[in-house]
């Protein structure tokens, strides 16, 4: 009897229009929805006293493709899973880099790990930065604190595909000079002709060798000359930063179609099911984390 019983056919992919990166589903690592693929940590290095850089090598056999700004769900066995941004550009193949802050139990356990330790990965998830929208634009890439982790993937992308964009300015703020992520990358970007890269820190301990600007990130914006009609700003940082930076950008004449924000939410599944990342009718994990400010109008995004 059971043999005649028909299993319902459910389509593998649904019809949700917010799902424009569905094409990458085929290259997802981890096949069942919640089962991670196992990877060894290739190397670990210190970025700041609280942040470390983790590198994973992707074998050639794995067809892994991602967009700048996407994230993975990273498993630390016994501690659960956390969303972590991919910090390198898809143009730099064969590996993935994650800059991870010691924020709690899972990230704490991760910080204890050594090269060779096994972690789990699912992903990539999220929409990433809409590169099509950024092409042929002047870019204002603005990051606060940990926000440089996802933004670096876009910066590297811009570096590797420099011709696709017009002027690129990078504004980065951190609490103290110690807390600056990717110090050597920053030095290189400041040196290079490719970018105009400016840095600011909230405060500096006495006798610290730092000679750069001191103040809050939004203070970097007013002095800039901005051609509002062909500039797009990309913001990644802590929630408290957004209102001030957005305000400063609006003063420069950027409307909400020209401001792109990447939002952080508590995430458990990364695939639009668990409900933790909801921003009104959006699920930050599949509709975001990157949004045009225009699309967020009327929602509680800044809450």
């Amino acid at each position: 009897m059971v043999s005649c019983f028909e299993k319902k056919q459910y389509s593998e992919r649904g019809n949700c229009d917010c799902f424009h990166f569905g094409v990458f589903m085929d290259s997802r690592i981890g096949h069942a929805a919640y089962e991670p693929a196992i990877y060894s940590i290739h190397s670990i290095s210190d970025l700041t006293p609280h942040e470390k850089l983790f590198r994973i090598e992707i074998p050639d056999a794995v067809d892994f493709r991602h967009e700048p700004g996407q994230f993975v769900q990273l498993s630390v066995w016994g501690w659960g899973e956390a969303p972590i941004s991919i910090s390198n550009s898809p143009t730099r193949k064969g590996y993935l880099e994650f800059a991870i802050r010691h924020a709690g139990s899972l990230t704490g356990a991760l910080h204890q790990m050594r090269p060779g330790s096994k972690i789990g990965l699912r992903g990539p998830f999220g929409n990433g930065f809409d590169v099509n929208r950024l092409r042929s634009q002047n870019l204002l890439l603005i990051a606060g604190g940990c926000g440089l982790a996802p933004l670096r993937s876009l910066i590297q992308y811009c570096e590797d595909c420099r011709d696709e964009f017009m002027d690129i300015r990078i504004l980065y703020g951190a609490k103290t000079p110690h807390d600056l992520l990717y110090k050597s990358d920053l030095a290189a970007w400041m040196e290079s002709e490719t970018f105009d890269c400016r840095i600011i820190v909230d405060f500096v301990a006495p006798n610290h060798g730092y000679s750069g600007k001191i103040g809050l990130l939004p203070e970097l914006i007013p002095p800039l000359e901005v051609e509002a009609e062909n500039t797009t700003a990309v913001l990644v940082g802590p929630p408290m930063m957004y209102p001030f930076v957005v305000e400063a950008l609006r003063k420069k004449g950027l409307d909400d179609e020209r401001i792109m924000v990447s939002l952080e939410r508590h995430m458990k599944c990364g695939i639009g099911k668990c409900g933790h990342c909801a921003i009104d009718h959006f699920s930050c994990c599949i509709d975001g984390p990157v949004f045009l400010l225009r699309d967020l109008q009327g929602t509680e995004w800044a809450g």
Binding site: V2, E12, G14, A33, G104, H266, C274, G275, D280, G303
Partner: protein
């Protein structure tokens, strides 16, 4: 269409017990109505709505996603060998089921839910099957087969291949075509509550409900999480690991947006920091946000949250209050 008596239907169920895991309304030890396996007792098909979240059959309170051994080998929780046959859900229940089916398979397919759901057959019950013989709306197609009670018999309406397959196995019963009258009665049922819900939804959409209202409702919420735990369309879950001796197990379990930890991030930032934010979300999510995202409100007025809320602020109660104050 065939008619069949309740006894005959049970005979039929017993006859297919080897092939299906049969689940339906049963009375538990102290009289609580619930879902359970078919035993020697007949199913409580006329005992009213099952108060608990019936979708827990497919999306249980907690479940293991996988176990992983020391050697990094996965062991997925074994699914039961037999297909599931579920009997006794009402039209509102079936609408809720239809929604969560869509929810779990759209976009990324939730294989844990879908695999379990796929190998199941659902038989709805409607017609004059209320506790006191009241008329229960006919779902007209949101299940594999519907048993429509006319006061004496079930009229069997088959909606899918699986439904027809089952129906063919039933050797009893007579052909009938008397469904039309029942259908008309069903369609004529007035649903004033739906109108209230729609009005509330519009008021919310137009931002006509002020913050004070939410603060007032929120002061009454004791955060028991009963409402979100019994709601058939609440799908939020938490994922966590258990560290055992030689393996780890990853589980998921129901979560509740009424808890402040639900959205709190490691940084301490919390989009739902106050209870009034959370109460607002509980109502808005179903009446506004899901309307945007899924094209329909996802409260099907089953009334479970209103029944369990210890302080009287379930969906229907809050919607009615919104309409009364701001309508």
């Amino acid at each position: 269409m065939k008619t069949i008596t309740c006894d005959q239907f049970h005979h039929f169920l017993y006859s297919i017990r080897e092939d299906f895991e049969i689940v339906g309304p049963v009375i538990l030890h102290d009289g609580t109505l619930s879902l359970g396996r078919l035993t020697a007792e007949p199913l409580a098909l006329f005992a009213g709505r099952i108060p608990f979240r019936f979708t827990s059959l497919f999306f249980p309170h907690s479940e293991r996603l996988f176990a992983m051994s020391d050697e990094y080998r996965f062991d997925k929780s074994g699914s039961s060998a037999k297909p599931l046959l579920v009997v006794g859900w009402r039209a509102e229940d079936l609408e809720a089921l239809e929604f969560i089916d869509e929810f779990f398979r759209t976009g990324f397919r939730d294989d844990v839910f879908c695999d379990r759901r796929q190998s199941s057959v659902v038989i709805g019950v409607s017609g004059r099957c209320g506790v006191n013989g009241e008329f229960c709306r006919i779902s007209e197609g949101k299940c594999d087969m519907e048993l429509i009670y006319d006061g004496k018999h079930f009229i069997m309406a088959e909606y899918t291949e699986n439904g027809r397959f089952l129906s063919e196995k039933i050797v009893w019963g007579e052909e009938t075509d008397s469904l039309e009258a029942l259908l008309q009665e069903s369609r004529a049922l007035r649903t004033p509550e739906r109108e209230i819900l729609q009005t509330a939804s519009q008021l919310l959409m137009r931002n006509q409900v002020d913050d004070d209202f939410w603060a007032e409702i929120a002061d009454r919420c004791i955060q028991c999480t009963s409402c979100t735990n019994v709601c058939p369309t609440c799908t939020c879950f938490d994922v966590y690991d258990m560290r055992l001796k030689r393996k780890i197990e990853r589980y998921r379990m129901w979560d509740s947006c009424q808890m402040s930890g639900f959205m709190r991030e490691a940084s301490g930032h919390n989009p739902l920091a106050s209870q009034s934010d959370r109460t607002r979300r509980r109502i808005r999510h179903k009446l506004v946000d899901d309307l945007h995202r899924w094209g329909r409100m996802t409260c099907f007025l089953c009334g479970r949250c209103d029944d369990v809320c210890p302080t009287g602020i379930g969906m229907k109660a809050v919607a009615a209050e919104i309409v009364e104050r701001f309508g």
